[in-house]
C-alpha cells in the first residue's frame, strides 16, 4: 500500500472512522514490514482493557451467546467489538466464516464491530493476527472486546493467553464432564456455561462440573459454572455479573492463574518448531525407512530405534 494511502487510513483511525479501522485490521493480517512499522504507534495506544475469550466444542452456541452478550453490553451503553475465529481448511487453505449469521440484529448498530478471521492453519487454531486485531480494537476505543475461537486443538490455551476472562461454553449433548477434564478446559476456563439448559442432561452436567471444582479445589477456586439458554436469552445477566466479578478478582488479587498456561503455550510453540524441522529432516534423509513404516514392513517403534542417532545429533545441535 502506498504511503499516503496508509497515512490517510491512520488518520481515519484516530478520527474513529470504521472503514479505516477495517482496512487497518486487514493490514495487520497481511503483516508486511511496512505495515508493522506504520501501525506500531497504534498498537502502543492500546489501553490494556480486559477482554473476554469464548471457547468450547463446535455447535455449543457460542455465537448465539455472544449475540446475547452484545445486547446486554449495548443496553449499558457500551461499544462492543468481536473477533470471530473459524478454522481454515488444512487442504485448501480457504474457509467459510459464518459466525456473523447469529448476530444479525447488531449489523447496523454503530456501536458494534464484528470481524471474522480465519485461523489460517496456525498451529494453535487462533491466528497471530487475531491478537494484533484485539490490540487495534483496544486502541480504537472499544469498551468490550470478545474473541471467539473454535474449541479444537490448542486454541483454548491461546485464547487464555489473550483474554483475561475465558468463557467455556458446553452443552448437555456434547458429552460429560470428563471431556472437560481431558481437553484441559478446566485449567483454561474461568466461567463455564452450560448452554441449551432446557435440554435433558443440563442439570446433571452442571452438578458434574461443580463436583469437579470441588475435587480440584486449588485449581478451581475462583471458577464458576452457570446455566444459560442463549436462544431464550436466559442466564445472560448472571453471566455478565460473573464476568464483572472475575475482573474484580483479577484486580484485587493481581493474579491471573495463567502461569502454567503460559508455560504450556511456550512449550507448545517450541515443540511445534522442533517437530516440523525433525519431520522434514526425517523425510528427506531417510525416505527408505519412512517407506518401510508406511507399508507396514517395519513398525514405528523399530524405526525409532534406527533413528536414535539422528535424534541425538539434533539435540546436540549438530546437523549431518
Amino acid at each position: 500500500m502506498k504511503n499516503p494511502a496508509l497515512k490517510n487510513l491512520v488518520q481515519g483511525f484516530w478520527r474513529k472512522d470504521r472503514t479505516s479501522l477495517a482496512r487497518i485490521l486487514t493490514l495487520a493480517e497481511k503483516n508486511t514490514a511496512e505495515s508493522r512499522r506504520r501501525l506500531s504507534p497504534l498498537y502502543e495506544r492500546a489501553r490494556g482493557i480486559k477482554k473476554i475469550g469464548i471457547t468450547g466444542p463446535p455447535g455449543g452456541g457460542k455465537s448465539t451467546l455472544i449475540n446475547c452478550l452484545i445486547r446486554s453490553f449495548r443496553a449499558r451503553g457500551q461499544t462492543v467489538a468481536c473477533v470471530l475465529v473459524d478454522p481454515s481448511s488444512p487442504i485448501s487453505g480457504g474457509a467459510v466464516l459464518g459466525d456473523r449469521i447469529r448476530m444479525q440484529e447488531h449489523f447496523l448498530d454503530p456501536g458494534v464491530f464484528l470481524r471474522s478471521v480465519a485461523s489460517r492453519c496456525e498451529p494453535g487454531g487462533l491466528s497471530r493476527s487475531a491478537i494484533e486485531m484485539t490490540l487495534l480494537l483496544d486502541a480504537f476505543g472499544m469498551d468490550e472486546i470478545i474473541i471467539e475461537t473454535v474449541g479444537v486443538g490448542q486454541s483454548e490455551i491461546e485464547v487464555a493467553g489473550i483474554a483475561e476472562t475465558v468463557l467455556v461454553v458446553l452443552t448437555p449433548e456434547a458429552g460429560d464432564a470428563v471431556q472437560v477434564l481431558k481437553a484441559g478446559l478446566l485449567e483454561v476456563g474461568d466461567i463455564f456455561i452450560i448452554n441449551k439448559m432446557d435440554r435433558p442432561g443440563a442439570q446433571a452436567l452442571y452438578y458434574e462440573i461443580s463436583a469437579m471444582f470441588g475435587d480440584y479445589r486449588s485449581l478451581a477456586a475462583h471458577k464458576k459454572v452457570l446455566m444459560a439458554s442463549a436462544l431464550e436469552n436466559k442466564g445472560i445477566e448472571e453471566l455478565v455479573g460473573a464476568i464483572g466479578e472475575h475482573r474484580q478478582y483479577l484486580d484485587q488479587t493481581g493474579q491471573d492463574g495463567r502461569r502454567e498456561l503460559r508455560m504450556r503455550h511456550l512449550l507448545e510453540l517450541v515443540m511445534n518448531r522442533f517437530r516440523s524441522e525433525l519431520a522434514q529432516k526425517l523425510l528427506k534423509e531417510h525416505p527408505g525407512l519412512v517407506e518401510e513404516v508406511c507399508s507396514a514392513r517395519l513398525s514405528p517403534h523399530q524405526a525409532l530405534k534406527k533413528l536414535e542417532g539422528l535424534i541425538k545429533k539434533m539435540l546436540k545441535g549438530r546437523s549431518r
Partner: protein
C-alpha cells in the same frame, strides 16, 4: 510473511429464501482457497455493505433469484461509495435477464453468473479479477 488470501462476502438480499446456490458457491470458493463470509438470508443492502466494510472483503457476491436485482445492485454500489469503500468490488449471480446483465455491468458490477454456471468459472473469475488486480 504476508498472506494473499482473498476475502469474499456472499450475500442473500431481500425476500429471496433460496440460498442453496449461494452455499454451493461459498463451498467452491472455500475449496479454492478463498475466505468466504456468509451472513445469512434476508439481508438489506445496508446490512450487506456494513458487513462488507467491517470485514474489509475484496469483493461482494450477491445472489438474487427473486428479480430484485435492479434495485439491490445499484443500492449496494451507492452505499459502498457513500462509505468510502469503493475499493470493494461487486459481482453477482442468480436469475437475471441478459439485458439487465448488460445494464448492471455498465453500472460497475464486475460480472454476473447466471444459474447453471459452473463453479470453476466463478473460481477463475475470483482468482483473475481479484488476485490479479
Amino acid at each position: 510473511m504476508g498472506s494473499e488470501k482473498i476475502r469474499i462476502l456472499v450475500a442473500k438480499p431481500g425476500l429471496d429464501g433460496h440460498d442453496r446456490g449461494a452455499k454451493v458457491v461459498a463451498r467452491a470458493l472455500r475449496d479454492a482457497g478463498f475466505e468466504v463470509i456468509y451472513t445469512g438470508l434476508h439481508q438489506t443492502p445496508e446490512m450487506i455493505v456494513e458487513s462488507a466494510v467491517q470485514e474489509d472483503v475484496d469483493i461482494i457476491g450477491i445472489s438474487i433469484l427473486s428479480g430484485a436485482h435492479m434495485t439491490v445492485f445499484p443500492e449496494v454500489l451507492k452505499l459502498l461509495k457513500k462509505k468510502k469503500a469503493g475499493h470493494i468490488k461487486v459481482f453477482g449471480g442468480g436469475i437475471i435477464p441478459r439485458d439487465d446483465v448488460k445494464k448492471l455491468k455498465a453500472m460497475g458490477v464486475l460480472e454476473i453468473f447466471l444459474s447453471g454456471t459452473n463453479t470453476d468459472s466463478i473460481v477463475e473469475f475470483g482468482k483473475k479479477k481479484i488476485a490479479g488486480k
